[in-house]
C-alpha cells in the first residue's frame, strides 16, 4: 500500500520520469497501431520491433554508452531498412507478405543477437543495459531518455494529427486517393517512418520482443467499443496508458520484473474483457442478448396461444392447459406469465389466464406480422404455402413497425393469409 501511495503521489522524480516515458510511448504506439491495424498491416510492426535490435547494438558499439540519441538513430536506421525491405521484396518477388515479414523479422533479429553477443563479451559495464532492450525495463529510464523518447513520441503524435485526414483516406480509400492525385507514395513513406518511430520510442520500456503487443492490442480492444476512427484512437490510447502505467508500477514494486511482459499482460486482459463484455459485440453481451430474446419469443408464443383460444371461441385458459402447449418448459412458462401480467398483457384469476386489452393488441400484432410475412413469401417470392410457416414463426418477433407498414402497403392491406386465416388488426 505504501508503495502504491509513493508511486502515484509522484514525489519521486524517477517515478515521474518513468510514468512520463511510458505514457508518451503508449500514446504514440496506440495511435500508430490503430492505423496499421485498420490497414491490416499489424504484423509489420512486429517485424520492425525485432529489426531494431542490430541498430541498437551498432549504436552501442560505436559510442560505448547507452546514449539515447545514438540508440534512436541506430534503431531507426535498421527499423526503416526492414520496413523498406519488406515492401520491396513483397512487391518484386513472388514471396508472399507473411513469409517476407517472418523472414525479415528473424534474420534482422538474428543479426542483432550476433552483435549483442559480441558486445556482451567486451565486458563493458554499460552493456548490461543492452539486455533491457529485449524485454524492457521502464525503471531504467532517466532524464535524458525522457527528453529523447518524449520528443520522438510528441513528434509522432503531432505528425499523425496533422496528416490525420490524409492517412484516413490512404487507409480507407487508397484508389480514390491515387485517382485524385494525392501524393500517396510520400504519405506512405511518412507513415512508415512514424511506424518505425513509434517502435523506437518503446524499445527501452517494453523491449523489442513484445513491442508489437503495444501496437496491436490497444486498438484490437478499442475496435470492440466503436466503429469510428476518432473514438477508436481515443479508447486505444486510454487502454495503452492504463496498461503502461500499471506495468511500470509492477516493475517498480518488483524490481527484477521486466516491464514489457506486464504491460502486455494487462493490455491483453483489457482486450479479452473487451471481447467479452463490450456493449455491442462482446461475446458475453451477445450471449445475454440471446437469452433475453429467447425469453421474449416464449412470451410471444404464450400470447399467441391465448389468442388461438379466443379465435376458437374460448375466453381464457387454465395454467395447467397452457403449460401443456410448452412441454418441458414449465418453469419458464410460469416466469413468462408473471412478466406478462406485470406488463398488463395478461390477467390471471386463480390460475385462469386471460388476455388483457394490451395483451390482445400485442397478440394481434404478432400474429399479423406472422401472417403478413407468410403472404409476402408466397406472393413475392413464389414459396409454397406449406413452407412459409417456419420462417414466419422466426420473423414475427423482430419485424419492426416500419417494416410492418411496408408489408401492408406492398400486399395492399390483405384480409387473409395463404392458409385463409384472417389477418387480425385492431378495431379502430
Amino acid at each position: 500500500m505504501e508503495d502504491f501511495v509513493y508511486f502515484f503521489s509522484f514525489q519521486d522524480p524517477n517515478v515521474v520520469f518513468v510514468v512520463l516515458g511510458i505514457s508518451f510511448l503508449s500514446i504514440s504506439a496506440a495511435m500508430v497501431g490503430t492505423f496499421t491495424f485498420l490497414d491490416k498491416k499489424a504484423l509489420i510492426g512486429d517485424a520492425i520491433s525485432h529489426a531494431v535490435l542490430p541498430g541498437v547494438c551498432l549504436a552501442f558499439t560505436f559510442t560505448g554508452t547507452k546514449n539515447p540519441y545514438w540508440i534512436v538513430v541506430g534503431a531507426f536506421a535498421t527499423g526503416a531498412l526492414a520496413t523498406y525491405a519488406i515492401s520491396w521484396v513483397t512487391e518484386h518477388t513472388k514471396l508472399k507478405e507473411d513469409t517476407v515479414i517472418a523472414a525479415v523479422l528473424s534474420v534482422f533479429f538474428g543479426v542483432g543477437i550476433v552483435f549483442m553477443t559480441k558486445l556482451q563479451q567486451t565486458g563493458n559495464a554499460a552493456i548490461s543495459g543492452l539486455d533491457h532492450f529485449l524485454f524492457g525495463n521502464a525503471i531504467s529510464i532517466v532524464g535524458e531518455d525522457i527528453l529523447v523518447y518524449g520528443s520522438l513520441a510528441l513528434l509522432t503524435i503531432f505528425t499523425l494529427l496533422i496528416f490525420y485526414k490524409e492517412f484516413k483516406l490512404l487507409i480507407f480509400n487508397r484508389d480514390f486517393a491515387v485517382s485524385v492525385g494525392f501524393p500517396v507514395k510520400s504519405l506512405q513513406f511518412i507513415f512508415n517512418s512514424l511506424m518505425v518511430l513509434a517502435v523506437v520510442t518503446g524499445i527501452q520500456a517494453i523491449g523489442v520482443v513484445l513491442m508489437a503487443g503495444l501496437l496491436i492490442t490497444p486498438v484490437a480492444a478499442a475496435r470492440f467499443w466503436t466503429d469510428r476512427l476518432g473514438a477508436m484512437l481515443f479508447i486505444a490510447v486510454i487502454f495503452a496508458l492504463v496498461s503502461g502505467v500499471a506495468g511500470a508500477y509492477i516493475s517498480f514494486v518488483f524490481p527484477n520484473m521486466p516491464t514489457g511482459p506486464w504491460v502486455v499482460v494487462v493490455l491483453s486482459l483489457v482486450a479479452f474483457a473487451s471481447f467479452s463484455f463490450s456493449h455491442k459485440k462482446g461475446l458475453i453481451t451477445r450471449w445475454y442478448a440471446k437469452r433475453k430474446y429467447q425469453e421474449q419469443i416464449h412470451s410471444d408464443h404464450i400470447l399467441k396461444s391465448l389468442y388461438n383460444v379466443l379465435e376458437n371461441g374460448g375466453k381464457g385458459i387454465s395454467l395447467m392447459e397452457l403449460k401443456k402447449d410448452f412441454p418441458g418448459k414449465d418453469a419458464e412458462t410460469e416466469r413468462s406469465i408473471k412478466r406478462l401480467i406485470n406488463k398488463a398483457y395478461l390477467s390471471s384469476n386463480k390460475d385462469f389466464i386471460e388476455l388483457a386489452d394490451a395483451g390482445l393488441s400485442e397478440a394481434r400484432r404478432i400474429i399479423r406480422l406472422h401472417r403478413l410475412w407468410e403472404l409476402y413469401l408466397t406472393e413475392y417470392m413464389n414459396i409454397a404455402p406449406d413452407h412459409v410457416h417456419d420462417t414466419a414463426e422466426k420473423m414475427e418477433h423482430i419485424l419492426t413497425p416500419e417494416i410492418e407498414a411496408k408489408l401492408e402497403a406492398y400486399l395492399d392491406f390483405p384480409s387473409t393469409d395463404p392458409h385463409q386465416s384472417i389477418i387480425p388488426r385492431d378495431e379502430s
Partner: protein, 299 residues
C-alpha cells in the same frame, strides 16, 4: 582443419533441426501461415516453463508434451479470435503470441531459482552446449548429446508425417475448399500440421531458441521457393539449404566468436538476399534481351 567432434555434433544437431523446421516451413509458407509459425514458437514458452516446474528437469517428455499442448492452445486461441470473436487474423496472431510469451517471461522471472532457463537464452538457445549435455543411461553408458537425439527423433517424426499425409497436405494447402467438398477434414490436417510445428519448436528450443526457430521455419523455404517451381524439389532444396545454413552458420560464429544461432539466421538471410538479387538480375537481363530482340525484328 582437423575433425573437431564437438563442431561436428553442433553442426549435425543444427542441421537436423534446420531440416525439420524447413520441411514444415514449406507448408506453412504455402498456406500463408508463416506468422502463425512465429506465433507458435513464441507461445510455447509458458508451456516449457510449466513443464519444467512440474517435472523438475528439462529432460524427458513432460516438456515436449506440456509445451506442445501450449502450441496447440495458441492455434486454438488464434482460431477462436478469428472465427468467434471476429477479430482480424493478423491481430489475433499478434495478441495471442505476445500474451503467451509475456506470461512465459514472467514465469521464468518468478521461478528463476527453480527453472534453469534464462530470458535471453530462450530467444536464441544454447546450441554450443549441445556436446556437453550428455545422455547418460541408467546403466551409466554415454550415448552422446541428448539434444541431438531429440533432434533425430523430431526429424524422423516430421518426415513420417509429411510422407504419410503428403497428398492431404498438398491438396488442402492448394485448395482447402475443394478438399472439404471431397470429404477431407481440413481442420484435422491443419491442427496436425500446427501440432507438428509446435512439437518441433519445443524440441528445438533448447538448442536454438524461439527466434532462430522462426528463421529456420521461414527463410530456407523462401529461398527454395525462389529457385524451384515443383513441390518435391522445393522440399529437397529446403533440406539442402538447411544443412548449408547450419554448416556455414557454425563457422561464421566460430570466425567472429559469437552466437551460433544468430549466425545461422544471418547466413540464412544472406542466402535469401543473394537469391533475390540473383533473380532480379536475371529478370532484368531477360527483359533487356526481349527488348533488343523485338527492336531487331522491327528493323
Amino acid at each position: 582443419m582437423s575433425f573437431d567432434p564437438n563442431a561436428f555434433l553442433i553442426i549435425l544437431t543444427g542441421a537436423l533441426i534446420a531440416v525439420s523446421c524447413g520441411l514444415l516451413g514449406v507448408f506453412l509458407m504455402l498456406r500463408k501461415m508463416a506468422m502463425t509459425g512465429d506465433a507458435i514458437s513464441h507461445a510455447v514458452l509458458p508451456g516449457i516453463v510449466i513443464a519444467f516446474l512440474i517435472s523438475g528437469s528439462r529432460e524427458g517428455f513432460a516438456m515436449i508434451i506440456g509445451a506442445g499442448l501450449l502450441g496447440i492452445l495458441a492455434t486454438v486461441l488464434i482460431e477462436y479470435l478469428v472465427a468467434r470473436v471476429k477479430l482480424q487474423s493478423d491481430a489475433s496472431i499478434g495478441i495471442t503470441f505476445t500474451f503467451l510469451f509475456a506470461i512465459g517471461i514472467i514465469l521464468i522471472t518468478v521461478f528463476a531459482n527453480q527453472v534453469d532457463l534464462d530470458q535471453d537464452c530462450v530467444l536464441y538457445g544454447e546450441i554450443a552446449y549441445v556436446p556437453i549435455d550428455l545422455w547418460i543411461t541408467t546403466s551409466g553408458s554415454n550415448m552422446g548429446p541428448r539434444v541431438m537425439y531429440l533432434a533425430i527423433l523430431n526429424l524422423v517424426l516430421v518426415v513420417a508425417f509429411i510422407s504419410l499425409f503428403f497428398k492431404e497436405l498438398k491438396l488442402s494447402t492448394f485448395d482447402g475448399q475443394f478438399a472439404a467438398t471431397m470429404g477431407f477434414s481440413t481442420t484435422a490436417i491443419n491442427y496436425g500440421l500446427m501440432g507438428m510445428v509446435s512439437y518441433t519448436t519445443v524440441s528445438s528450443f533448447e538448442a536454438v531458441g524461439a527466434i532462430l526457430v522462426v528463421a529456420l521455419l521461414a527463410v530456407p523455404p523462401a529461398i527454395a521457393y525462389l529457385w524451384s517451381k515443383d513441390l518435391k524439389k522445393l522440399l529437397v532444396l529446403t533440406l539442402l539449404i538447411g544443412v548449408a545454413v547450419s554448416f556455414l552458420g557454425y563457422y561464421l560464429a566460430y570466425a567472429i566468436n559469437s552466437s551460433i544461432a544468430g549466425a545461422m539466421a544471418t547466413v540464412a538471410g544472406f542466402f535469401l538476399a543473394a537469391s533475390i538479387v540473383a533473380q532480379r538480375v536475371r529478370r532484368v537481363k531477360e527483359s533487356r534481351g526481349r527488348i533488343s530482340l523485338s527492336t531487331e525484328q522491327q528493323n
